[in-house]
Amino acid sequence: MNLIWKLLRRHISVGQLAGFFLADLVGTVIVLCGIQIYSDMAPMLSGSDGLLGNDYIVISKPVKQLGSLMGRSAAHFSESDIDDLKAQPFARNVGEFRSSQYGVYLGLPGVFATDMFFESVPDRFIDVTTDEWRFDLSKRDIPIILPRNYLNLYNFGFAQTKGLPQLSEGVSQSISFDIELSGSGRTEHFKGHVAGFSDRLNTVLVPESFMEWANDRFAPSKSALASRLIVEVENPADESIAAYLQQRGYEVENNAADNSKIGFLLKIVVSVVMAIGLIISILAIYILTLSIYLLLQKNTDKLENLSLLGYSARRIAAPYSRLTVTLNVAIMLLAISAVYFVREAYMTRVAATLGGASQTGFLPTIIAGALLTAVVVTFDSIVIRRKINSIASKR
């Protein structure tokens, strides 16, 4: 057996080391669980195919009753509002909703006819891919995109009570409407058809190019301010989105900013949990440091004699360093396996309830664990070396 170890293992307190081992294990498991849960859950909130995924949010200003009655355009976004929003780090793209400034009358001969409105957004914000999304003036045929729930409204509400046939998406797209546009003293007739259904945009959409042409033609004197904005965001779980909207007093359609709020809450909860784990770990490491200090103190004579025999501080420290490395690595391996089983348990539940597996895997825990061990072992080594040096250089 190593003689140095035989000498220096005296006075090692198994009780203290066991106390450290358990406490540090608990603390480390909590810290690593926090990291792993966060890295598993965060992608579910961001990412367009995520659980609550929605890279686009539609915002508007609240409609104030008095302002609307007086005909003021308080609910419109000004240039500076839009520039400010574009400058936000979470905003990747900002598109304006333009609304028709002219009269729209839409009908299906013999079935129904109604006053209508159109809105348009830049094409890149539209989630329907179709070749028909073009306005050709010579054909006088306007492609329209409707929200998908309009079709449901018609099929399950309107059609049933009126005794009309229910329509599939395909069939509904083959129906041709009559459209009458009027304004600025003229009236013109067009055809129109449904080019697709959108899950993202809750309005009656026409191509932006048509909107510009029609506003010019039927309402040249009116300026078309944006009433709503569509924002493509980097990460819907970014808590700064909710904070910004709250501060500016904007309203969000479809609770799309909920991700941001949930992301914020997730961060807070995980931070609190990790802080508790860290505190436990730090206290445990403190116990270990004290225990080793005490050990060195009790072995002062031996350490001094070894130094006088020509043993370097590094060689004297080696058994203690080995002890701390062994303890800490053992703790980390146990903690990582514990987190592995915890993760298995919650991921099967998450997969069963919410569907979809995490893409991040187990790597964050392993990296964090390795880093944590490296930090603790380095800290301990420094403490041990300093103490031994102070004993060895005593004259």
Partner: protein
């Protein structure tokens, strides 16, 4: 290392004494490699202090001590470590053995640093010094005279240019002192090393090149 030089060295506590009459304190002293010195001292004259200064344990002196011209007060931890491994070996008056280790382990803990002596050489010393049967006994259970012999063997388990012996035979009878002397001379001459031995009464019975009184 060829020379140990003391230049006006005096322990701090003696610095104000007017009646100091010594061959070493405040005097120019040179110890040469290959020669044998006996430092005779009365109790309280600073004999152990001298050994502690030379071995780098203490620095509470005035004047200058140098090894081959290098001021030892400037040596760092690493340099002292090297000196204690390869240049200077010390038999401590208080022995500084590890009571929980056996006699054999106490010798080996030093020998393993530089792997200087073979097991058979050490075994032959145990035989010669009459404590072969104590090899596996814990040092705590041995008499002081026996421990002194173990400490000597340990001191010889390294390369050295000077061997510092602080009262090496204080607890040994004449016969054992002579046996010890043989081994010391043999090892010192094999290395061409110098010997600096202190004594407050009995001393190793050998021919000294110089006797200094402290």
């Amino acid at each position: 290392m060829k020379l140990i030089t003391l230049d006006s060295v005096v322990p701090e506590i003696f610095a104000k004494r007017k009646d100091l009459r010594s061959d070493i304190w405040l005097a120019p002293v040179t110890f040469e490699r290959g020669k044998r010195y006996l430092v005779e001292a009365a109790s309280g004259s600073g004999k152990s202090s001298l050994c502690s200064f030379l071995y780098g344990q203490r620095g509470d002196y005035r004047g200058r001590i140098s090894f081959d011209g290098d001021d030892i007060s400037r040596f760092g931890r690493g340099r002292w470590c090297d000196v204690r491994r390869r240049e200077l070996s010390m038999l401590f008056q208080e022995l500084r053995l590890f009571p929980e280790l056996t006699a054999w382990e106490n010798v080996q803990i030093k020998n393993r640093i530089e792997n200087t002596q073979s097991d058979s050489t050490i075994e032959s010393w145990f035989e010669a010094l009459g404590i072969a049967d104590k090899r596996k006994a814990r040092v705590a259970l041995m008499s002081y005279g026996q421990q002194q012999r173990v400490a000597l063997m340990r001191a010889l388990c390294q390369p050295f240019d000077f061997l510092l012996l602080d009262e090496p035979v204080s607890h040994l009878d004449e016969e054992n002192g002579r046996l010890m002397c043989d081994i010391i001379l043999q090892e010192a001459s094999r290395r061409g090393a110098g010997i600096i031995s202190t004594s407050i009464g009995r001393h190793l019975d050998m021919e000294y090149d110089k006797v200094l009184s402290l």
